[in-house]
């Protein structure tokens, strides 16, 4: 299930140098690149070009990256990867909760960016009705509500199962604490309940025989949320 070759990527970033860097390297990775340096134009471009993925800089002059994100999300489910300068957990969370699929911090490694682009593109391609998720030795049977690790059944409580399901079906993608709370506990959660998440993630890790210091499945994104790791390709 590789990303479709020649996927069209729209880069919205005001820095010509970053655009140039992205253009050269992503074209080398066989992507088709479109670029624009300004938020309002980016929104228009997104509707004209019909990109398969958008790379959006949060720190745009004029119309802010957040606003661009909101406008595009009004009519499109195109995957959006946010490019941001570090140290702004609040911004990242806002972007993710606002519909971004992932974030990459500046300065970034190109390998990481390409990996994220692949994950985001694959999510679109993937049909969600697949009943069994497989991650190396871990199998999650969504139809049977059963989890198997190395061939043996893992007993999970309903909440633990729900969390694992949400994380695993978004494998490779980052899930914010709020998204996780919302999807597992529904609308009744409270933002301050996030410590329950930690307890449950702790239990889940233990049951998946995971050394918390060497995450195999669930990786913590500090201050933001969790990411279910894809097995090394």
């Amino acid at each position: 299930m590789n990303a479709p070759l020649g996927a069209r990527i729209l880069v919205i970033d005001d820095e010509p140098q970053i655009r140039k860097l992205l253009k050269v390297t992503l074209q080398a990775h066989q992507f088709e690149l479109h670029e624009c340096g300004e938020g309002a134009e980016g929104v228009i471009q997104a509707s004209i070009v019909h990109p398969d993925l958008i790379i959006l800089d949060l720190g745009l002059p004029g119309m802010s990256g957040m606003e661009v994100l909101r406008r595009i999300r009004e009519w499109s489910q195109v995957p959006i990867i946010v490019l941001t300068a570090k140290d702004q957990e609040g911004d990242k969370i806002a972007a993710l909760d606002g519909g971004a699929d992932d974030y990459v911090t500046k300065p970034f490694g190109m390998g990481e960016l390409v990996a994220r682009i692949r994950v985001a593109l694959r999510h679109v391609a993937k049909t969600t009705d697949e009943p069994i998720l497989r991650f190396g030795s871990l199998t999650i049977d969504l139809a049977q509500r059963q989890v198997e690790l190395e061939g043996t059944l893992v007993k999970l409580t309903p909440t633990e199962y729900e969390m694992l399901k949400v994380l695993a079906s978004n494998a490779g993608k980052i899930i914010t604490q709020r998204q996780l709370l919302q999807q597992v506990w529904g609308g009744h959660h409270h933002e301050s309940d996030s410590h329950y998440l930690r307890v449950y993630v702790g239990h889940l890790r233990k049951k998946l025989n995971e050394d918390p210091t060497k995450p195999r499945f669930i990786q913590t994104e500090p201050g933001i949320g969790y990411r279910f790791l894809l097995p090394a390709e």
Partner: protein, 531 residues
Amino acid sequence: MMSERIKKEMQASHGKRVPAYVWVTLGVTLLTLLLHAIGMSVDLVNVALVYLFPVLVSAVYWGMGPAVYAASFSVIMFDFFFVPPYLSFTVEDLRYLISFVVYLAVAILTASLAGRLRQQLEMVKAREATTNSLYALSRQMTAITDLNTLQVNIATQVSLTLGKPAAVYLPDGQGDLLVTSSSSPVSEGEKDNWGDGESEIAIAKWVYHHGQIAGKGSSTLRESPGLYVPLRTEEQIHGVLAVSMEAGEVHEQQEQLLLLEACGGLAAGAIARVKLAEEARLAQITAESERIRTALLDSVSHELRTPLTAIIGSATGLLENDTLFTPEDRRELTGNIRDGALRMNRLVTNLLGMVRLESGMLQLNRKWCDVGDIISVVLTQVREFSPHHNIQVELPDDPAFIYGDEVLLEQVLVNIVSNAIKYSPDESQIIITVTSNKSPSQLTIQVDDQGVGIPEAERIRIFDKFYRSESTRHVTGTGLGLAICKGIVEVHGGTIVAEPNPGGGTRMRIELPMEAHGSRFPYSEQGEVEE
């Protein structure tokens, strides 16, 4: 205290003057009766001598006036009762008149001598009191190092010494004179905080600008109820000291003027001293910040230029001599560019962190966080640039939760573990130990390495900004990492120390209070049944 006593004594001596005459009258009368009863009326010389006694007593105890009165009254009594013809003022023998005059002269002379002695005694006493109060004042003032306390103290002390309300005026930043401190009223009936009035401030301003004494008892503005003394040292006038004067005798006012001037001198000296100390402190701070700025510039220019040189050199090399390089060379040069950029990124991150800490912009985003989780994130970050160290983690059985800022605590640990890696040889072991204590409820994170260790003298200084140990100058760094760690840990209410590792190397120990929020982690099993 001292001043109150003087005041009372003065009032007493003033008030007793009238009863003194009554006492004299009574005493002389009684003496006359006694002499009569004893029947000494024939021995006139003895009687006259006995009559000198009340004169002396009055002179010693009550001063000149009562003594003269006693002398005159005695002469009259002597004449009336003892000089023949008895019970009449007529004198039989005119020679008695000479005796009377001589007697009176002797009595008055004695009285005046005794009176002067007494006056001198009183003066000495008053001076002693003044000296004492000035001494107390100066002792009080030398101990104070803070200008505000000093002002209040001056006003209170002067007010106590003189027994009158006092106020201190000091110029503000713009040079306008303000009442900075006024004593509370000494006795009832005086209005609160004397010196706040417009006219009082106006006079104070005049005194401040002209540097002359004004007010009651001085040569200027005699009509004013207050007395204003400039607080003057050799170079400048620091402010004005004012005292509310009641109507009093002229010589008393003169004395108080002198006393006030002395107080003013003391106060001016004290204010000048405090101001100088303040200036010295400011100068020291400026010098220190200058030093830090120089260190920052040196360090930043060096730390930024080194990787920049590497990046520019490698990049231009690649651009200009593309054909010269083998693929391996090219790999090496691009790797150089990446490493230089990564190094610059670390420096920029640290500098930004420091700026955020210093400017107070750092706000804790406190949440319950799992320490194991934080360490796992730290390890993923650290492993990227150090695949050659064996890092072991020992976590407590129960998951340790702490109420703090996850991202910042992670930064602390990344800095410390990176340091452990930086300063210890490849393939050596780094052990991270987490222990939690119930009471006092605190979390300890220890990072042990087997590296070069830190000399004892430097164990505190390594947490200073831009401090680099002499022995490790060859390792790149800015000396900011640990300063940031310290800042973050302290914002969390914890402590961070460097200790020798019993196994050789360094042990960094972080202690964080777990109940910073007043409650423990609301940890509870959810009671769910496993499916």
